[in-house]
Assembly symmetry: D2
Homo-oligomer: 279 residues x 4
């Protein structure tokens, strides 16, 4: 159910990451290996940071593998930090407003997973969103509500804490409605400078998530690989599943972990939802 | 802002009503004369009753004037009661789930108008929807929320009362948030047997709405008009603006009125929103 | 590369055939087992005959598995003879005019396969189309050109002969341009009364095609199967791959064969392209 | 019938030209004043040059006025030379491959107009396209065939001569089929360095086309206008209709004229179709 990719480092043209690799995200829209579904054809989206105040977002309901406009935009845009997502819809309409990444001011958000028993908890969760933010919800997905809950709980100032509270609320609300394992998923979010990637599920069996090993180390391991010399020292990617097959290049992020990538350095910390849900 | 049409009578092929007339609804998608906009190209929808338990609905974001599939479906479907709507969007995304008519079980609903200051009142109105119905809201329009409020207040058993309460709640909530004229619009709704059409606005300056004069009278007025002999005795239409120009055929429905059409007979009654908003 | 289905018999609601079966065509759009691709998400189309002079056609670039309008139309239309197709595009754009079935007057046409080396032969084949028909070509697929060649060679009066000449021309032209195996595919075409289904490829390794065994025989084999009693005596289907798994119900049509189904009776004849390509 | 715009000068962000002006091209998609239709909602397209070898192209069938992706891409792309087009379709399908601008290698092409009696001449004109180019035709418009004829006649080396021969062939072919006035239209084409804009019709009553006066002169005329100081000295636009209303800023290009804009300098020359149509 969905596959996503996030890149941070020196600016690269998006096609180099989105289309060129052996098992690119575009390939994963048709032939994912580690996802719940092999096909992720219910829409796609990209979000990219550049010199403008807010990131650009391009989302479409078309399957990614055939979308000419996506290839065009991706080959004419270079960015130091961008998100890409291909969707397999569960339970909500295939429409542009339900495609990831979601954006709020300078913040982007992607999710691979779901809130279980969503119909039962949707209203309560919607009501927990800050009333000032509520009118900005444009779609009907659980992923977008989760984003707005995180924004409500301080995503702009304390991302890890805000996501912990949002997921905590989801779990508490779900359990109160008899849902055994309310939350599933990997989440990526950014402010244009840093990248936060979460891997957590109530059941402890979360969708896959990988982080690339740092480029200097990879160059030592593979001195003849030209692509590693083309990449910048600080280039890092967090992905649902590897886009290439170079042994040792892809480090699986453990369950219940948040990876924070900033200026080429990463930090992995344990991630636990918190109970507090007041603003 | 939007144009709609409702037909009731003996079954007719939809194209006879949607495409053939001088100033058909399809023509109104490009050249409306009485609407807030001449162009209504932000999507369209049709809903039709037949022998199946629930009505069929076909909605698309494509402008109606060029949609080949609409013409195809319309020329192959005959129905004794159907709705059609062309949209000019105000403030919400152009997506299939935001197109009219909306459907719930056997009930269809269309609206031409808006809830003023919607961002300010959206959350409160959403919270007034019956929690059991709330998860079924698929889009993000004021028109759909109004439908779900009416369903909450008993649309299935007392349509006029339910709409009165829904509009009453919209007005009370709007005024509490400083909106001078909260509600604008014409509404059409049906259960497959009868048709209710409302014309009301807080300001008393409502979008246009017309009802056809009964066919037997029109035949007396125009004995040579072939189309009147082809039409069934009980054929009636309620429209945003006339699709033809036969003098005397189109009766303007007054402000603050509900027209109830059932088995070829119509009844016009005064319509006033009511204050009660509890379930 | 594409999957299709054709039904002939007493009228049935399209969903009974398109959605309900174990391995329906909608399921095949996502999980085809016998096709060149498991995913056929580059558009779909249905064509159905009823009392109107020409068949209705509904085609869309959306993947079939998620298209709400397709489900709606399919559940409100009953037909004694209809076509359905899900597309995996090779080499031409994903657009409505490139979706099957194609229609000309009362004739429908579907194809699963391709003309190899199409870029090399496209112009010559286009020039062989009757100049009076040429302007009606709306898309850019090899499948549509093949249809127009068959129309040029008399599809309306001698379907088998016309298809033989069309495929013959494709093979002659291809070979002249150095293409080893110019033609691949199964073809279905109808005039609303009879159904012709062809299975042929230059290489002798053609896409799969099956014909259902007649209903009376199946009832004897499976007296307890309710669905066989619901089906009409003359109900037959020709499909790219079986939509159910009842042993003995699906007869594989041999290579180089045309199946003609008319009034519940089928006739299988050898099919060979012919060399003559003059009109 | 269609409106277009071309910009050349120092790089500007596309929204500054496409969205911001008083009567922007986006506004013209809904409220054109000088076109054959007020609404141009049958798709849009942009093409822009940057450092990459070929220009980017983004085309969609959605009406321009509501397309979120267009606004996104336009606000994140800066270019020294770009094309934009909004379409009102005549006689061919609304599909992405029928939207302008068309692209071939580094060349872009837009057209506002039509080839009259196209159905009668389409086949002959298609046959006059260089066989090596023919397979690359992706749509079915007269505008695209015209482009391929111009490419056939040497658009890459002698643009004015090539267009003269292409239009000449269209006129000769049309007249041979009894069409009184075969060609109508304004054409814009570029190689990324220069811009050629043609205004010609067989009848001598051509769609409107304007060229901006040079910026230094406009600054003298309007020393207080801030936008003129923001614009580069060499900024020029050629448009179907003015996007602003500053008196004296918009020079109407005469009938039967080609305007060549290169490095901020323009040259207007008489344009006449030529009879020679051999390659």
């Amino acid at each position: 159910m969905c596959r996503w990719l996030a890149y941070t480092g020196s600016p690269v043209v998006l096609t180099a990451v989105l289309y060129t690799p052996v098992h690119s995200l575009i390939d994963q829209s048709l032939h994912a290996k580690l996802g719940a579904e092999t096909t992720n054809g219910d829409g796609f989206g990209i979000g990219w940071y550049d010199e403008r105040p807010t990131p650009g977002v391009f989302r479409s309901t078309e399957p990614a593998w055939n979308d000419a406009n996506l290839r065009e935009v991706a080959s004419h845009v270079a960015s130091p930090l961008f998100f890409a997502h291909v969707r397999a819809a569960i339970g909500s309409a295939v429409q542009q407003t339900n495609c990831h990444p979601f954006r709020h001011d300078r913040r982007l958000w992607m999710h691979n997973g779901f809130i279980d028993g969503y119909a039962r908890v949707k209203r309560e969760l919607a009501m927990a969103v800050d009333p000032a933010l509520y009118p900005q919800i444009a779609g009907q997905t659980d992923s977008e509500i989760l984003f707005y809950l995180a924004l409500t709980f301080g995503l702009e100032t304390d991302p890890v804490g805000a996501v912990a509270r949002a997921v905590g609320l989801v779990e508490a609300t779900g359990r109160a409605h008899g849902v055994a394992f309310p939350f599933q998923g990997t989440i990526a979010t950014s402010d244009g400078a840093s990248l936060w990637a979460f891997r957590y599920s109530s059941e402890g069996r979360t969708r896959s998530m990988f982080l690339t090993r740092d480029i200097p180390t990879l160059r030592e391991m593979y001195p003849d690989r030209e692509i590693l010399h083309a990449a910048s020292d600080d280039a890092r990617m967090v992905v649902s599943e590897p886009i290439g097959d170079l042994p040792g290049a892809w480090l699986e992020v453990p369950e219940s972990t948040v990876a924070v990538v900033s200026r080429g350095r990463e930090e992995l910390r344990p991630f636990t939802p918190t109970g507090a849900n007041t603003r």
